[in-house]
């Protein structure tokens, strides 16, 4: 390791970095703007200037930009040098020439990197006395405010949006001090990651539009570590709440998972917590009447029903925590606990879990995905089913061309030199999908086909990688050529990655993906296998186990009491089946946060806390158990409480012989004892008894405003802060001041670093793991001994055959719309499509219909009228319908349907 001398003190630093990264890793306060840990250096802002000296005798030195200067052994720099300090203050003075002094009315105020850097440089007097330049701002859609007058021209936004995230509808216009960052014209930003501009922008040009509706300064937010509930990837988030309302979500850095970025569904889906559809009070229904009751009365009624019941069943949920599912299992007994997925989904998810457990290919983390240098996506539309994965794959696509940088002596952090050398080249990137995907621009080749043909292509790839895998007969010449080139690219890559998932709802596709990974591993290639699963806790649900939902829906089961946990069964199974189950049961108890078709049928409705009002553990797609914590204390939503707590109370009321569960710890520990596979999940975060410096970790920043008159109409005395028996966090600003363990970081804040950039201070080194290791515990370990024999002997499905007059209807996914909870967030709902049926133009012509025409689609025996949407990417004989949209019922897909122009 080279020695870097900073202000005459020697430090050992990593070699392959620049001086800014090294200084920040050493926790020096060195200001910067245009550099971003994920975006690298471009040297635009000149803010990180330091003095560099040739040797010990050199007293003059020269100013250099730390971000553009590679560290070398014996290098001597000074941050404290007077010239360097004067220059850094001058940069701020320059930026302030045009920056409006509107901090008091700016949403960024209090967490503004520009404010922090201004203070850090010591600039305090601006000599510029002429007019500031002004701009016209744009309407960029429901997610982002645009206030260009605040722009300091650091170029981070355009670099993130275009270069890192692959967006095309945003750019930099004009020049000199009137450089403009925006769209060519007003309109919704199209990229799925646009919301990151809120954090990428060092000041208030791009701010959270949803936050503006219920604005609170960062210092007045109650925050806690949380995990996103809107897909299976388990991105870490920091929700912030105040006065009983969830105000926003920002990224919570996890070096192994989401890094610095979230997708917009994850960032903006949170508003479902504040939805008018929230179940706020317990309801009792019967004899056609409905009344809101107290917690106690609801609990009494539910306990009574449970005690009276002889044949109660529980239905869990893949969107509820492990603890909530386990508590329900304990209430009804393991034999009466059903998994909350329909049998087809459970079988697909179970297959993926089996494949990952069997190995030999294991699932990389999102961070690791970026290191793979060849990608084959088998059937998954990742930007719509597991969006954040798409951003990581975009980085992997550059891995192979980046190998030439070594010969050119271009360091990886010198971003624009890297991009210049790489140009638009991409490494091997193959996509087989039923429809066009948002990653097609990266693809070496795109193969659009029905699920069976996607599986056949992948199996052919497996065969060409490893001749011992079965050959696929009857493949078209083009497909075989593609399979061969894909196989060659994967087999010659250093680290090939296979991506698949439940998106096609086709087991053959999953098996075929596993077969490719298995073939690569069998021939000595260290392949990764990444599966996108349907929901935030699908893997946890599987690990917990339970009876199939189908058994419950089977009309012969006839339970007398059904307890449904955070699950709208009408999204899982046909209305007829669910109706039959709910009608056959004498009583139905539903715990949920939002009103659903299922909760509407319940006799007892218990208002359940969302992720924001609960603690719990979820297991993401790679098997990483992660804990999330309350940000909204239960008292503020008086009748709402965590599902697991409702169930723990129900259990205590009816199982008098058992030990009562007083806190989340009790549930977790009981779960660990009962289900060994989940025992490590207890370690996902410290238990409630953990104390740091003898104190709890505060959920509120030290600058919390404290007392206000908001509740003075109720009581002039400030209410006592709620106690938290479940977590080692406090609901106040008081508590430990030291940096907490990574799983307990409620917000990133450090003296002088009020913005999200404070995360630098929490990392072992820049862009690496958080101090003490990134949070989360892996529950799935590939068992190499099985060597993946099962999946490798995958059956080869018959080729897809077009049927006259009928179409194979495949599921189509929408990042905004297909997820149940985020659809209740207004900003997300605004971008969700209305239900439709999709065909390619040629097929539409043959049917004599045009875009927008009504089509009768027959699925599950029901005829539905849907407007036609032309989807040029769909293959012949295949139609698509969006899944998960509000108003689209559960459908068994893929399925054959007649399509007829609506008369």
């Amino acid at each position: 390791m080279p020695t870097l001398v900073v202000d005459n003190h020697p430090f050992q630093v990593r070699a392959d970095q620049n001086a800014l990264e090294a200084c920040l890793s050493l926790k020096f306060d060195l200001p910067y703007f245009c550099w971003h840990p994920a975006l690298g250096s471009v040297g635009a802002c000149r803010q990180c200037a330091v003095k560099q000296f040739k040797d010990e005798k050199d007293t003059k030195g020269k100013l250099v930009m730390a971000c553009m200067t590679a560290v070398s052994d014996g290098m001597r720099i000074s941050i404290a040098d007077a010239d360097a300090r004067r220059f850094r203050a001058s940069v701020i003075e320059g930026l302030m020439e045009n920056h409006p002094h509107d901090c008091p009315v700016c949403d960024e105020g209090g967490e503004c990197h520009l404010q922090d850097m201004t203070v850090m440089t010591g600039h305090d007097y601006r000599r510029y006395r002429f007019p500031k330049r002004t701009f016209r701002n744009q309407d960029l859609g429901p997610f982002l405010n645009h206030e260009m007058n605040r722009c300091i021209q650091c170029y981070r936004c355009v670099r993130f949006y275009r270069e890192y995230a692959g967006g095309t509808d945003f750019n930099v216009f004009k020049l000199r001090d009137i450089t403009y960052f925006g769209r060519q014209q007003d309109g919704v930003l199209e990229n799925e990651f646009a919301g990151n501009l809120v954090e990428v922008c060092p000041t208030g040009v791009f701010t959270d539009k949803t936050l503006k509706r219920h604005y609170t300064r960062k210092w007045d937010l109650t925050m806690a570590p949380s995990v996103c509930v809107h897909c299976s990837l388990g991105c870490n988030t920091t929700p912030g709440a105040r006065y009983g309302k969830l105000r926003r979500i920002v990224n919570r850095y996890n070096g192994a998972v989401n890094g610095y970025f979230l997708c917009d569904r994850g960032r903006y889906g949170y508003e479902f917590v504040n939805s008018a559809r929230r179940i706020a009070r317990p309801l009792l229904r019967g004899d056609g009447s409905e009344r809101a009751v107290s917690r106690d009365e609801a609990l009494e009624r539910a306990s009574h029903l449970l005690a009276e019941s002889r044949n109660a069943i529980g239905i869990g949920s893949p969107r509820a925590s492990l603890e909530a599912n386990f508590a329900l299992r304990a209430v009804v007994g393991a034999d009466h606990f059903h998994m909350g997925m329909n049998d087809a989904d459970a079988a697909l998810a179970g297959l993926m879990l089996d494949v990952l457990r069997a190995g030999p290919a294991s699932s990389p983390s999102l961070r690791e995905v970026e290191q793979f240098d060849a990608v084959f996506i088998v059937g998954e539309d990742v930007l719509n089913t597991a969006p954040r994965l798409g951003l990581s794959l975009r980085q992997s696509s550059r891995r192979q061309p980046m190998q030439r940088l070594k010969a050119l002596k271009i360091p990886l952090w010198q971003d624009h030199a890297v991009r210049e050398a790489v140009q638009a080249d991409h490494g091997p990137f193959f996509i087989a999908a039923t429809n066009a995907t948002g990653l097609d621009d990266l693809a070496t080749s795109v193969y659009r086909a029905a699920p069976a043909d996607i599986a056949r292509l992948a199996l052919a790839v497996a065969h060409h990688v490893d001749a011992s895998a079965a050959a696929v007969d009857g493949l078209s010449g083009d497909a075989d050529t593609l399979a061969r080139s894909c196989a060659t690219a994967l087999a010659t890559a250093e680290r090939p990655l296979i991506v698949s998932g439940a998106g096609c709802r086709d087991a053959g596709v999953i098996r075929a993906a596993a077969a490719v990974a298995g073939a690569l591993c069998a021939t000595g290639r260290p392949a990764g296998l990444f599966f996108a699963l349907p929901e935030c806790n699908t893997v946890g649900t599987l690990l917990l186990g339970g009876r199939p939902l189908g058994e419950a829906l089977d009309a012969t089961a006839r339970p007398d009491l059904v307890i449904v946990l955070e699950n709208d069964l009408y999204r899982r199974a046909s209305a007829a089946n669910v109706d039959a189950l709910l009608a056959s049961a004498a009583h139905v108890i539903v715990l949920d946060s939002l009103e659903t078709a299922t909760s509407a049928r319940a006799h007892v409705v218990l208002p359940a806390g969302t992720f924001a009002e609960s603690d719990g553990t979820m297991v993401n797609n790679e098997g990483r158990a992660q804990r999330f914590f309350q940000v909204l204390p239960p008292q503020t939503r008086s009748e709402i409480q965590e599902s697991w707590r409702w169930l723990a109370l129900l259990r205590a009321a009816t199982h008098r012989n058992g030990d009562a569960w007083e806190s989340l710890d009790d549930v977790l520990l009981a779960m660990g004892r009962a289900i060994p596979a989940l025992a490590p999940a207890v370690q996902a975060a410290p238990l409630s008894t953990y104390r740091l410096e003898g104190a709890r970790v505060p959920r509120e920043p030290q600058r919390y405003s404290g007392r206000t008159s908001m509740l003075a109409n109720i009581d002039v005395s400030e209410p006592r802060p709620p106690e938290d028996v479940d977590a080692p966090l406090s609901f106040t600003m008081e508590g430990a001041t030291r940096q907490p363990p990574s799983a307990l970081i409620p917000f990133f804040w450090s003296p002088g670093w009020n913005s999200i950039q404070a995360v630098n201070q929490y990392q072992t080194e820049i862009a690496a793991a958080l101090e003490g290791g990134d949070p989360g515990v892996t529950l799935i370990h590939a068992n190499g001994s099985a060597a993946g024999e099962g999946p490798r002997r995958a059956e080869i499905p018959a080729a897809f055959a077009v049927r006259p007059g009928e179409w194979l209807v495949v599921p189509l996914h929408h990042v905004f719309g297909s997820d149940e909870l985020s659809h209740a967030a207004p900003a997300v709902a605004e971008l969700a499509p209305a239900p439709y049926v999709a065909l390619n133009a040629q097929e539409a012509n043959s049917l004599g219909v045009r875009d927008g025409d009504a089509i009768d689609v027959t699925l599950d025996g029901t005829v539905r009228q849907l407007p036609l949407r032309i989807a040029p990417g769909l293959p012949a004989g295949v139609a698509g319908v969006p899944v998960g949209l509000a108003g689209m019922p559960a459908m068994t897909l893929p399925a054959w349907s007649r399509l007829v122009k609506h008369a």
Binding site: G43, Y155, D177, K409
Partner: protein, 424 residues
Amino acid sequence: MVETPLTRNMRADGEAPDLKAYEKAGGYQSMRRALGMAPADITNLVKQSNLRGRGGAGFPTGQKWSFVPMGSDAPHPKYLVCNADEMEPGTFKDRLLLEGDPHQLIEGMIIAAHAIQADVAYIFVRGEYVLAAARLRAAIHEAYDAHYLGKRIAGTDQTLDLHVHVSAGRYMCGEETGLLNALEGKRANPRAKPPYPQVSGLWGKPTIVQNVETLCNLPCIVERGADWFKGLSRTKNGGTKLYGASGKVRRPGLWELPMGATMREILEEHAGGMQDGVTFRGALPGGASTDFVTADHLDVPMDFDELEKVGSRLGTGTMIIMDDRTCPVGMCWNLEHFFAQESCGWCTPCWSGLRFAARTLRAMEEGHGAPGDLEALEHQAWFCAPGNTFCALAPGAVEPLQSALKYFRTDFERHITEHRCPWT
């Protein structure tokens, strides 16, 4: 005749010699000779000639070429780019070469392309140089027809495709790497160096960018040799130089003179001295982005090394002369306004500092100067110093300002104390 190799074919009527006329005067013989030489030998020849880049920075040309990866495993295509984006205020030397003898440039480019084994070449020409672009296109057409361009040039293994690209505008395009970005269809922002274009240039491939005048020197170097070329010069920098003068002189113009001619010689012998009624106060010796020199420096030889010794630069060698009836503050305002307008907006000192300076100068010129303005201007000059900015635009831009503050400080102070421009 041979003492002015660059302008030897220039015609009195201003028309460009066509291929026939150019060849009749000995044109394309150097190309033939060069194509018969090993690339490394040409590079060595150019090194020995002490030819330094005529775009303003004066980097030794042969040395620049020697950084290009050569040999069978070198990346291809390699590019040669001629920087004909002459936008420096007060500079009009390349225009003469482009319009007056386009074949000389093409021949020079073929020689350079052979030396670095370039496959494709571009002439990036200033948008306003409509006539130059038309003459270049006509000459390139002739050269293709004569098999001097295209595949297997003159029966050798050298292949070169030559394109004229007309700039969409902006001073920044004249900066070596800004030009490359512009050629790629990107914003004309400069690039960080290293990596140098010789290694990762146009489209990430090895690229040499040379000024028009530099390339036009190559045929005569190949023809007559390095020693002859060095002998043309009065100083250590080899060759002749196109020197120009503008301002209130009797005969503003452009002359090919031995490198190292003095300013006095140019001013008095060639430009005919100052016009009646005005006296010389100072000059920007090498275009708008060089420091002022004064009457004390008139006998300094104009070359890359000597002008640096007196705190200025040879730049493009085309001087702008300031007389006693021109307000130095007004002149600086004009210049800083231009440079502030042309800042690409990439680095903070440039886009903020130049605007600050231009606004302050304007205020002073309009009678709104305030105490502290001179210190603020000096601060901006320091802020925009070499190394503090991303590219050379801002450091060049503040050169006239910082030297004007040094030599004409009283004039600046009077603007503030008198609340008006003393020249109006």
